[in-house]
């Protein structure tokens, strides 16, 4: 109980200030979150789902917290003219953990995209019905810590039958003159038959140590469709702990796509529950890591109903002394007949020092299902490299082409043309070492 102490102390000392700068619905869960966090503490590496990441070590340093909600002297709209070519997103900013409001973009009637704090004040019932329902504080220390400290974030609501054509893009910008911890919270509710596409881009504007917890809860109603793209492009001093929870109702469709291009320590937990019959989910992950980068993706897909489909593809390209981990568990519960699930993880280690821990898991309690899972770890194909060099392609370029070919399988799964083209370009730049530091939203430049 050493790393935990400072967070518990901060909370007890500043609870009044935390509450004052947040909203009732969020404040209501803090007490229980505190109890849960103080009881559990940070998970050790003996806890199965945290086997590959030393959580305590990441949370041990003393980071500043902006509990008093001092607005940073930054106008993100000035700093980032963030338009993916031909995509025309509805663009929003979260600086550290504060939502920056901007003139209402043209979204269909009834659609809400706003600050979570504001939403909790304006639509308390709607937020209360969803907030904390998936990210249970008694189950996970990061959930508990985030629920205890988070004051704001993003709220997305799409009413029944409404389709949002425009991509909702949120740039998470880290900006601070001192080392900083940010606790961000996202709540997305898609009612029956609703459709939305979210794009989150993480950036760090300052060369500081950052520690971010992010908890996302997404409720996807019957026949609703959600696409969620996440792109991390921060720097080596960033520590990201993200917990994403998705609940899918009958015949709903979800695509989650996570790209880690640059960062320090990245830990993404994704729990997706197929609650209603016929729901379908696609999960894609692409990790490009070098230097001392560590990236840990941990997924759980819970097949609870009949006729659901899940498809997972995670690919890692590791160079230098980077460490990657992928643990994906597919759970097919009793009664979840006619479940179909494919889990695939493939990894490329470019050096002898790079390490990959891969753990695909499949647990089936139904007797009429189609499931597969597998993982590979390999090196660059020497024969292919030599073949290319014989044709005059230099070794670096040849390696780049092979890595690009490897990553392309994930990129090509992106349904949205401009985004796919942009990501292809970004990943290529990343492999060429041209994304050395984060100085803004590369997706848009």
């Amino acid at each position: 109980m050493s790393s935990e102490r400072q967070y518990l102390d901060i909370f007890t000392a500043h609870r009044e200030m935390i509450d004052r700068h947040s909203a009732g619905v969020l404040n209501a869960l803090r007490g229980k979150a505190y109890d849960d966090f103080s009881r559990m503490g940070f998970p050790t590496r003996k806890v199965e789902r945290y086997k590959y990441t030393d959580v305590s070590a990441a949370f041990a340093p003393d980071y500043g917290l902006n509990l008093n909600r001092v607005k940073f002297a930054v106008d993100p709209r000035e700093a980032f003219r963030c338009e993916v070519p031909n995509l025309g997103t509805s663009l929003h900013f979260i600086v550290n953990d504060s939502f920056y409001s901007r003139p209402a973009p043209s979204l269909p009637e009834g659609v809400v995209v706003c600050s979570l704090k504001q939403a909790a004040e304006t639509y308390p019932d709607r937020v209360a019905a969803a907030y904390g329902r998936l990210a249970r504080t008694e189950k996970d220390a990061i959930n508990a810590l985030n629920t205890m400290l988070a004051q704001d974030g993003l709220f997305v609501y799409v009413p029944k039958g409404v389709e949002v054509e425009r991509t909702i893009q949120v740039v998470n910008l880290l900006r601070s003159d001192v080392d900083l911890m940010a606790n961000r919270r996202v709540l997305a509710v898609l009612e029956e038959g609703a459709r939305a596409r979210l794009l989150f881009c993480d950036h760090a504007a300052d060369d500081r140590n950052f520690l971010v917890t992010q908890v996302v809860e997404a409720f996807v109603g019957e026949r609703a469709s959600l696409e969620l793209y996440e792109l991390e492009e921060t720097h080596a001093k960033n520590h990201r702990f993200s917990n994403l929870y998705v609940d899918q109702q009958r015949d709903s469709r979800v695509t989650l796509c996570n790209f880690t291009l640059t960062g320090g320590l990245t830990r993404n937990r994704t729990d997706l529950t197929l609650s209603g019959e016929g729901a379908a989910a696609d999960l894609y992950g692409c990790v490009i890591a070098d230097g001392e980068q560590r990236v840990d993706n941990n997924t759980l897909i819970d097949h609870r109903a009949e006729r659901c489909t899940s498809n997972q593809l995670y690919k890692y390209v590791l160079d230098d002394a980077a460490v990657g981990a992928f643990a994906g568990r597919v759970l097919v519960r009793e009664g979840a007949q006619h479940s179909r699930s494919v889990e695939r993880n493939a990894n490329l280690c470019g050096t002898r020092e790079a390490r990959m821990y891969a753990q695909p898991m499949l647990e089936i309690y139904a007797d009429d299902v189609q499931c597969s899972h597998g993982s590979t770890v390999g090196q660059m194909d020497e024969q292919a490299l030599f073949y290319m060099r014989q044709r005059g392609i230099g070794l670096d370029e040849a390696r780049m082409l092979l890595k690009m070919a490897f990553a392309d399988e994930v990129i090509s799964a992106i349904g949205l043309d401009p985004l796919r083209n942009r990501l292809h370009h970004l990943v290529e730049k990343r492999f060429r070492g041209e994304l050395g530091h984060c100085s803004g939203c590369r997706l848009c430049k």
Binding site: Y387, R389, Q390, R391, L395, A405, D408
Partner: protein, 258 residues
């Protein structure tokens, strides 16, 4: 153009080439024949710089430059091309991107600007026709899902794109049916300029009927043991290699006689 002097090479400490000397002049076609394991493929791999092989002695100069000191890609830029016995499949790398990278790398080496996308695609189209390579194949990943014959045709297509001055064809005829062999061989002849040289490794006369070598060498146990004109290839086709081996041991007995 190419001067090989007393070349020794091997793989994993095992000696395979035991003193090869060979001179190829501009415009000449040399056929290299020999039984399996004689060292033919080792020679071609050593010439293009395959890092799996170790050179343990001798020298190779190419247009006056020390070939063995160059990286594989530099050898390619200097005009050396190997048609692989087993072309490598590279899933996910499109033929277009692959060839563009290769052509532009060579241009950069020679101080030229990269080719415009339009010019490049036009060149792809023209060269493809020479070897009757289907446009569908040109749009696929490198060699992925190509049949044996398509892979060999693709090798000659790449040769057409890169316009080498010395091409090494390593059993380009193996696995080809009669028609595919004709297309590949005629393609090669069409692409050939007067100064283009070639080393053709083959087991059979048929390819040589098309390519008409100036010189035929027989490689045995890592050495060139016999050199002759095109008639030597015909004789091997009829009689195999045993008579050469017999001649050799007779020769040895003679030289060892006091």
């Amino acid at each position: 153009m190419l001067e090989i002097r007393d070349l020794h090479a091997g793989i994993g400490g095992k000696a395979i080439l035991k003193g090869i000397s060979l001179t190829v002049r501009p415009g000449e076609i040399h056929a290299l024949m020999g039984q399996n394991g004689a060292g033919k493929s080792t020679l071609s791999n050593v010439l293009v710089g395959n890092p799996t092989y170790e050179v343990t002695g001798g020298s190779v100069t190419f247009n006056g430059k020390d070939l063995l000191a160059m990286k594989p890609e530099e050898r390619a830029h200097e005009g050396l091309f190997l048609s692989f016995q087993q072309p490598v499949e590279i899933p996910g790398v499109s033929m277009v991107n692959f060839m563009r990278a290769a052509v532009n790398a060579k241009r950069r080496y020679h101080g030229l600007e990269p080719m415009s996308a339009g010019d490049f695609l036009k060149m792809m189209r023209e060269k493809r026709k020479v070897v009757e390579l289907d446009s569908k194949l040109a749009n696929r990943s490198v060699n992925e899902g190509f049949s044996g014959g398509e892979k060999k045709r693709n090798e000659i297509f790449q040769m057409a794109m890169l316009e080498p001055t010395l091409a090494i064809l390593d059993e380009t005829d193996s696995g080809l049916d009669v028609d595919a062999l004709r297309i590949v061989a005629e393609g090669f002849n069409k692409l050939r300029r007067p100064e283009t040289s070639a080393i053709v490794i083959t087991h059979y006369q048929r390819l040589l009927d098309y390519l008409r070598p100036d010189v035929v060498h027989v490689l045995m146990d890592g050495r060139i043991v016999k050199t002759g004109g095109p008639e030597l290839a015909a004789e091997i086709e009829n009689r195999g290699f045993d008579w050469i081996r017999a001649e050799l041991s007779a020769g040895h007995t003679e030289t060892e006689r006091p």
